[in-house]
């Protein structure tokens, strides 16, 4: 299993599943539905948030939270 936190800048992936319940609902509502493609565009220094380009906007998520997001690297 791969999680979002592991992907490096520039790589693309596909959303699979989100394990944290509250996080899941929030991210689903913001368009991170299973099967949706994204690109990792930024990672903040010192283990800060990750930014992904998904359904034509940039979304940033904390690195810890990105660990509970399962993805497939494309």
């Amino acid at each position: 299993m791969q999680c979002l936190a592991e992907l490096s800048i520039g790589s693309t992936g596909e959303m699979v599943r989100i394990f944290d319940n509250n996080l899941e609902q929030k991210l689903l509502e913001m368009g991170c539905t299973p099967g949706e493609n994204f690109e990792v565009v930024r990672k903040a220094p010192f283990g800060g948030p990750v930014a992904i380009l998904i359904s034509s906007y940039i979304l940033s998520i904390r690195r810890e939270d990105a660990k509970s997001i399962e993805v497939i690297e494309l």
Binding site: K26, E29, T33, P45, G48, P49, I58, S60
Partner: protein, 692 residues
């Protein structure tokens, strides 16, 4: 609908241009307040829709969905889902970002499913075009079954058409739901409708999913039972519904939006981000911006501030001569006018700080600041957005605390508010300057001016204390909410100057009218305390000095001693003696509560007693002898102790009032006053006992 007032709610995602549209529709006819009991900002305004119809518009907090996860979202949910809510709209205007249609019509489709009367304002069509996206507005309207109007909120395009559409759509509601939850969860929804005694599938679905719709407490039990018997797990049902909704939206977007080639300009955001969130340059640029803000709020603001100060001195002079001498004269001049001047003096700093914040927010840069500082500041219980209030606290805590509204996490916002007044603000500067000049020799050490080093150390002490207290509060304040950081990074935009202007106007207005009332009241109390005394003490003083040289000086000083403030100062002397303070400093501590810089004035009045020569306050204080030892009264120990007290104590009624306004509770200013008082007292005590 002639002359009838109806209600319009503006809903939409954050960054959808909702507030810009609200400003364009209402102009300056806005009212800003809080929702009862919570600190979510409530903005309402009047819209003139046509010659004979007006509407009240309410700007709902930005939200991505009707399912609430924060107080802001709960406000939007409660208003839209409850027909009995006093803000329930006759019509809802959903603002959507055309360049990001998929995500921004999610909320719209939920509102359609509530069977609400709704109009879609499709904003930012110009940005969509740059991205190469062409939206078929007519087809979108047909497919959704609601009116859709393309607008450009910034340029004010399409506003008139939008107003007409709103008038024409009144009283109509969508014929069919976007997503039929009744079909998706067969049986359960109908039964929930029966329990709730309404015919609204989507609202019943929300109630089933444990959304706290008001007036539903008595149904909770029955709904929970229904979930069990129908095998519905609320979290799963909600996720299923969201995924199904998005697959319908995807279909709709495919049919109505054509993807062409993006026009070059769109790349600007990427290029700017390469620089602005660069692991090294990103921080350097941010520090530079902070430096500029600090400089402007600290130094530029002094010009208008001096102007206001001078103006009030003139007005006070004029009024004191125009009115007959007596109590009323004194109350107006030294109570009311002094209080009013003390409020207006903050306006330039508030205006300058909010000009910057609105500018940074509107360009999209603020989101980047959070992105690069989130992790660092979260380690000490703060938030990426705490950095602006914290640093502008070094100029003045009042605008700084007002700017904490951009921090979405409640706990991180409270911590920021509680520690910001520890930063050495500009009102402490005159106190530091006076005392440093008294106790620190103006010598150079290793090429550095010693007085300057001490001054800087006091700024550092404030900053370090703020960080340490934040860290302590991080582990003591309990909060149920898990702080998520899920944030959209909007594309960079040239700021909309109107929005910046509105923000400044609104913040100044809120400060003047909301905080102003309480500040005037406290000023009058302080005036009363320093200008009245029990019995006929004042008359005796006047008799005593009659005909004496420099009588006025001595009378004023003696009167202050005999006044209620003086009595209080003497009363607290035993408590402050271990800190090296006498009752005269005690009086100054009390009067400084109006504002710290009053310290210098009070000291100069009270120490002038019995001295017939006019001297500067500094010479006077340096000549002062300690009656017990015969040595100079202001030893380094007393000076350092006094400076530490001013560094930590919460001696600013304006800050206290603003903290109350921003937290909507007297509990927080009280906690702040007590903890800062403790910090001040014990650090002064330790310093004095060690040094003397």
């Amino acid at each position: 609908m002639s002359n009838q007032l109806f209600k319009i709610a503006l809903a939409g995602n954050p960054n959808s241009g909702k507030t810009t549209l609200f400003n364009a529709l209402t102009g300056l006819k806005q009212k800003v307040g809080n929702y009862p009991g919570i600190t979510v900002e409530k903005k309402t305004g009047t819209i003139k829709l046509s010659n004979d119809s007006k509407a009240i518009a309410i700007d709902l907090p930005g939200t991505y969905s009707l399912f609430s996860k924060s107080i802001d979202e709960e406000v939007a949910q409660q208003i839209l889902c409850n027909k009995d809510n006093r803000d329930y709209p006759d019509i809802t205007l959903v603002v959507a970002d055309a360049s990001n249609l998929r995500r921004s019509i999610f909320l719209l489709t939920q509102i359609i499913d509530l069977k609400m009367n709704v109009v879609l304002a499709l904003n930012m069509v110009d940005i969509a075009t740059k991205k190469g996206l062409i939206v078929d507005v007519n087809l979108l309207s047909k497919k959704l079954g609601i009116p859709v109007v393309a607008i450009n909120a910034r340029k004010g395009k399409g506003i008139e058409v939008l107003k007409k559409t709103v008038i024409n759509s009144l009283g109509k509601s969508p014929d069919y739901p976007f997503l039929d939850v009744g079909k998706l969860f067969k049986g359960a929804i109908q039964k929930a409708n029966i329990i709730r005694n309404v015919e609204n599938n989507y609202a019943s679905f929300m109630a089933l999913c444990k959304q706290k719709l008001s007036g539903e407490i008595e149904n909770r039990c029955a709904l929970n039972q229904l979930c069990k018997s129908e095998d519905i797990i609320p979290e799963r049902a909600q996720a299923k519904e969201t995924v199904n909704r998005y697959s319908l939206i995807d279909k709709l977007v495919k049919e109505t939006v054509k993807q062409g080639e993006p026009i070059g300009k769109y790349m600007i955001t990427k290029r700017l981000d390469d620089l602005l969130i660069h692991p090294f340059y990103g921080y350097i640029i941010f520090l530079l911006i902070l430096f500029v803000i600090f400089q402007v709020v600290f130094s530029w603001a002094t010009y208008p501030m001096d102007l206001i100060d001078g103006l009030f001195v003139d007005i006070q002079m004029f009024v004191s001569q125009a009115l007959p001498k007596g109590l009323l004269n004194d109350l107006v001049v030294n109570g009311i006018l002094a209080g009013l001047g003390g409020i207006l003096i903050f306006v330039p700093q508030i205006a300058f700080l909010f000009a910057f914040i609105a500018f940074l927010e509107d360009t999209g840069y603020m989101a980047r600041v959070s992105f690069i500082t989130d992790k660092l500041l979260r380690n000490v219980g703060l938030n990426g957005r705490s950095i602006i209030p914290l640093l502008s606290g070094a100029a003045c805590a009042v605008p700084a605390i007002m700017s904490t509204r951009t921090i979405s996490s409640w706990k991180e916002r409270i911590i920021t508010i509680l520690v910001t007044p520890l930063m050495s603000c500009s009102a402490r500067l005159p106190v530091y300057t006076l005392i440093i000049a008294l106790i620190i020799p103006a010598e150079d050490y290793f090429g550095f001016n010693l007085q300057g080093i001490v001054m800087m150390s006091f700024y550092m002490i404030g900053f370090v204390a703020a960080i340490l207290v934040a860290l302590l509060l991080k582990y003591t304040i309990k909060s149920k909410e898990h702080s998520y950081y899920i944030m959209e990074m909007p594309s960079y935009k040239i700021p909309d100057w109107k929005t910046v202007g509105y923000t400044i106007f609104e913040k100044v207005k809120v400060f003047l009218f909301d905080a102003g009332k309480i500040i005037i009241a406290v000023s009058i109390v302080l005036w009363f305390m320093s200008s009245f005394s029990p019995g006929d003490n004042f008359e005796k003083i006047e008799k005593k000095w009659k005909g004496h040289e420099n009588a006025e000086f001595n009378i004023n000083a003696d009167k202050l001693e005999a006044s209620y403030a003086g009595i209080l100062g003497k009363m607290i002397e035993p408590a402050i003696k271990p800190l090296g303070f006498d009752w005269k400093i005690g009086i100054s501590l009390i009067t400084s509560f109006a504002a710290r810089e009053v310290f210098v004035g009070t000291m100069s009045t009270i120490y002038s007693v019995g001295d017939s020569n006019v001297k500067s306050i500094q010479t006077r204080l340096s000549e002062l002898k300690n009656p017990d030892t015969g040595e100079a009264f202001f030893t380094p120990a007393v000076g350092i102790s006094l400076m530490l007290f001013y560094a930590f104590a919460m001696q600013c009624m304006t800050t206290i009032v603003i903290v109350y306004r921003e937290t909507n509770h007297w509990k927080w200013p009280f906690i702040q006053f007590v903890y800062m008082g403790f910090l001040a007292y014990f650090s002064s005590l330790i310093a004095y006992q060690l040094l003397s």
